[in-house]
Amino acid sequence: MIYQKRATAHLWRTRCSLYSDANTCIALSICALLKQVSLNLQMPEQSQAIVIYTGWERHALVGSDIRLSCSFFSWRWTSEDVTFSWTYRPDGSRDSISIFHYTGGVAYVDNKGPFRDRLEFVGNPSRRDGSILLKNLDFSDNGTFTCDAKNPPDIVGRPSSVRLLVFEKVPIQAGVITGAIIGVVLGLLVLIVVIYYLMRFLVARRVFSLSVRSVPGPWLGALCQWGLCQGRELKPEPIPGTDTCVAKLA
């Protein structure tokens, strides 16, 4: 650190020596350095912004209620002046109207617009939750809901939107049936392969153990070591059909 300071000072002295008024030059340079350092110290706080979280898309049935959640992340403590506001833009329209605002500890709900008497505030601002409850949904409620939260002095942030889709019956999620069909077919394939190899193994084992009956003496010790005797008694006559197998073994 000390060497850096000395080097910087030397650099400025060389630079400043080109000017006529060297002392002013040095003073100005030191001022600039201090300003830079203070900016650097402040930068982390200025670059933090408030981050707002809502869902991406919500599906609901006609006539049901839905809770649209909104929360935020901020580096600062939740202030008393925290505000939440929700705006609604119907599908196919370009204008958005404000339907909810929470400020100064009081929640103001829509009393003139499309959601009058249907909107309720169910959030907890001290816990950074600004969720609202929409009741008795209809097809005309399809649209985009935008939540904007401010936590003074942390006010720089981007509002987040959630899209509401109202259905008569809730459709199956995209990809469920696709995944199910692929999984079933591949599972059947794996099952068939496993069963095939199992059958082959069992049949081979059975054939091998059956042919033990007509195997000559010296071989028996080796086979019994492998545990393929299974306590069978030796019979001299060969089993029909295993002649060729025995001939190959011998």
């Binding site: 459709p171 199956i172 990809g175 049936i177 696709t178 069909i181 692929i182």
Partner: protein, 157 residues
């Protein structure tokens, strides 16, 4: 012999490439206002060109699954062909390879048939079928012929 081998592999790879293109490129139906496809629905509205994920109906998901399965089976069949090429006895037939390839062609066929039958539900009648749909139909006979060749072919030397 080598020429035959190359020809068969080329046919198989051609069918596989057609399957890939048909599944990945979303151009199953095209119309004036936009395209309605296997994975996304893109439309040109006043605000420009924007795409939504395809409708979550049961049948379109079945078509997606069948196309993906046909790709998987065709790849497996290519892999099995190379395995069997080196391990099969002389005079043996590439049954396993042929089975997988024929299954792949059957999946493509069912996928294309389902799409043909159900497409009035998804797209307006004025829309015509795009090239991905046509490629799917072309891939079906190619894969079928390829599979049959594997079943008939006997391994030499």
């Amino acid at each position: 012999m080598l020429l035959l081998l190359l020809g068969i592999i080329l046919l198989h790879v051609a069918a596989l490439v057609l399957l890939f293109v048909s599944t990945i490129v979303s151009a199953w139906t095209t119309g004036d206002t936009g395209t309605s496809d296997l994975w996304t629905n893109c439309s040109t509205t006043n605000g420009g060109y924007h795409c939504d994920p395809a409708s979550t109906g049961e049948w379109i998901q079945a078509v997606q699954a069948l196309m993906i399965l046909s790709i998987i089976f065709s790849c497996l069949s290519l892999f099995l062909f190379f395995c069997q090429l080196f391990t099969l006895q002389k005079g043996g037939r590439f049954f396993l390879t042929g089975t997988f390839q024929i299954l792949a062609s059957l999946f493509v066929m069912s996928g294309a048939i389902i799409y043909t039958v159900m497409s009035p539900e998804w797209a307006p009648d004025t829309d015509s079928f795009g090239y991905s749909y046509i490629l799917a139909w072309v891939a079906f006979p190619l894969a079928l012929i390829s599979g049959l060749i594997y079943v008939i072919l006997r391994k030499r030397e």
